[in-house]
Symmetry: C2
Subunit: 335 residues, 2 copies
């Protein structure tokens, strides 16, 4: 069924199901000029937004509509996680090429609604408009966090340790595989990497554990590569840092793809995008406590360096001595 | 200067000025993973979003960048107004073709920031990404309203009067003039109509007065033509209505354009879009009180009909008897 056959309002009726999980907080969701929400006491509100454009951020040559819907929400969840918060309510805007099949859009909403359900996020409104030829999806997401638990990127102190969750570079490796399906990586490994790129998981699990410790001094989600994210923390905090290349966690799959292609997988970790892991700084007593908590929860976490003073700059030790870490990361307009 | 020469972060630095007006409520604006906001007691939160696509919702053949920035915020302000609320914080997403001049984008932000300043709205974050060839702008806007003052579209009761602010059809008439600049309407009249289309004003002034009266039972902003908006109110409220065609307020300019072109200006009022006036229903004692308040404030308001029971349907009296009002309004996918 083509979208123009059901029309805007028919489409809204089709997708307007299973989008509200916490009806006590949603006085009115879809179906009025704006959503009406009950506030959450004295908690801080968090507000973030991310836009994804077809053939810039995703391509239906590799991704399903369901994966695109999932990812549009995941990237916003990741921003809320990086503040130490919990996501609550979202609004979705879609610019849709007129020949689009309604079934595909329903799949997109299923991908989003499935992930929203998992975290109790209410999709409370949105806008659907026409696009000339590319699908554009924008999500704006509200979250909340106790006032004393907000984690800014500006709190890193000299002597703090730098840690990351999970493994880095998998998403960039997965994108490389999507673009070069002929690469003879073992199928089960290739599948792992492609999924890391196409169905990223926001680290709300890890962020929740971290916020409880009170040991985290600064945090970013890794959307644009480790090098760019640690630079943002250092600049916002007025400090330098020293990273150990050998301690940056890489998956077996990404290492294997590196061996086959001749690429240095560390470059994917430093300059690739969309891992959506967390990089954070912790007080000197932090690593031991946090490693214990994460081990108990069965989650991976690693110490990758230390915060230094501003004049020492941003350094990486690659095993052949320490050098200035080049900036880089994904700048949308440098391409 | 081309955008790619300054890069994403250079661009954010350029526009990140004059965007915060209420620093007590904005703990952190642009420059972290999400904005951090202080809540407003027990008020309801309002959340709305609107997306505009180049060559679908606007064209640089008629509009300046400043006007596009203004309009992207105005359409969202209008949604907050229609709930009886006050706008507070917004986040902006832009998908930008790579050859775009930075100066043009600064103009776009000036248009938005100027309007934001007027209503004390803080622009607290956003996302800037690359687009293949069309500019896409999305705004998500938070607002607030006292719990007992929220005006839903579902509260209309049989016997209520139907009222509208301002004059209707001016925006559609203005668009017609943009597309047919050869039409010999007097230049000062043409300028009025074009401005109504290119620089719409959200009726926060009128909405504020109306919310205070406690007499308004349902309200919509008129973004898709009066016929569609009153239908939404009737459907949400489970009622019918009867409109008087002769009482629907039309401006001198729109009437004049109708005479020159042979179009019936009432059609622009009923089925044109983007007037961003308010249509609302009021208790039987409402019209007199409201007309007095608006007269004192120097604002236009008119009674255009009455709410009837559901089985009477949605009717319009054109002077040649009452007939069923055709649906219509702007459906983005019917084109």
């Amino acid at each position: 069924v083509k979208l123009k056959e059901v029309g805007e309002f028919g489409f809204i009726d089709l997708i307007n199901r299973g989008l509200i999980h916490d009806s006590a907080k949603v006085i009115k969701g879809i179906g009025d000029d704006a959503a009406v929400l009950a506030p959450s006491g004295t908690n801080r509100l968090l507000l973030t937004t991310d836009m994804m454009v077809e053939e810039v951020h995703f391509s239906f040559r590799y991704a399903t509509y369901r994966q695109v819907g999932h990812k549009a929400l995941a990237v916003n969840l990741s921003d809320i996680a990086a503040m130490g918060g919990r996501p609550t309510h979202g609004v979705v805007s879609l610019a849709i090429p007129s020949g689009t099949e309604v079934e595909n859009l329903q799949e997109l909403y299923r991908g989003m609604a499935g992930l929203a359900a998992r975290y109790g996020v209410n999709i409370v409104g949105g806008d659907t408009v026409k696009s000339a030829n590319q699908l554009v999806i924008n999500l704006a997401l509200l979250g909340e966090v106790e006032q004393e638990r907000v984690i800014f990127r500006s709190g890193a102190q000299v002597g703090d340790y730098i840690m990351v969750t999970g493994t880095l570079g998998d998403s960039a490796a997965g994108l490389h595989l999507c673009q070069h399906p002929e690469i003879p990586l073992r199928p089960e490994m290739a599948e792992v990497l492609r999924k890391r790129h196409l169905e990223p998981q926001a680290r709300l699990d890890a962020a929740g554990l971290l916020a409880e410790t009170g040991l985290v001094t600064a945090m970013n989600d890794i959307s644009d590569g480790l090098a760019g994210e640690i630079r943002e923390i250092c600049q916002a905090s007025g400090v330098g840092c020293s990273l150990e290349g050998k301690d940056i966690p890489l998956s077996e799959e990404t290492r294997a793809l590196g061996r086959i292609t001749g690429y240095d997988p560390l470059q994917w970790a430093l300059y690739g995008g969309e891992d959506f892991q967390l990089v954070f700084t912790v007080k000197p007593e932090g690593p031991e406590v946090i490693q214990k908590i994460f081990a108990t929860a069965g989650l991976g976490v690693a110490v990758i360096g230390r915060i230094t003073s501003l004049h020492e700059g941003i350094k990486l030790d690659t095993g052949e001595g320490s050098r200035a870490l080049e900036s880089g990361g994904y700048d949308h307009f440098s391409l």
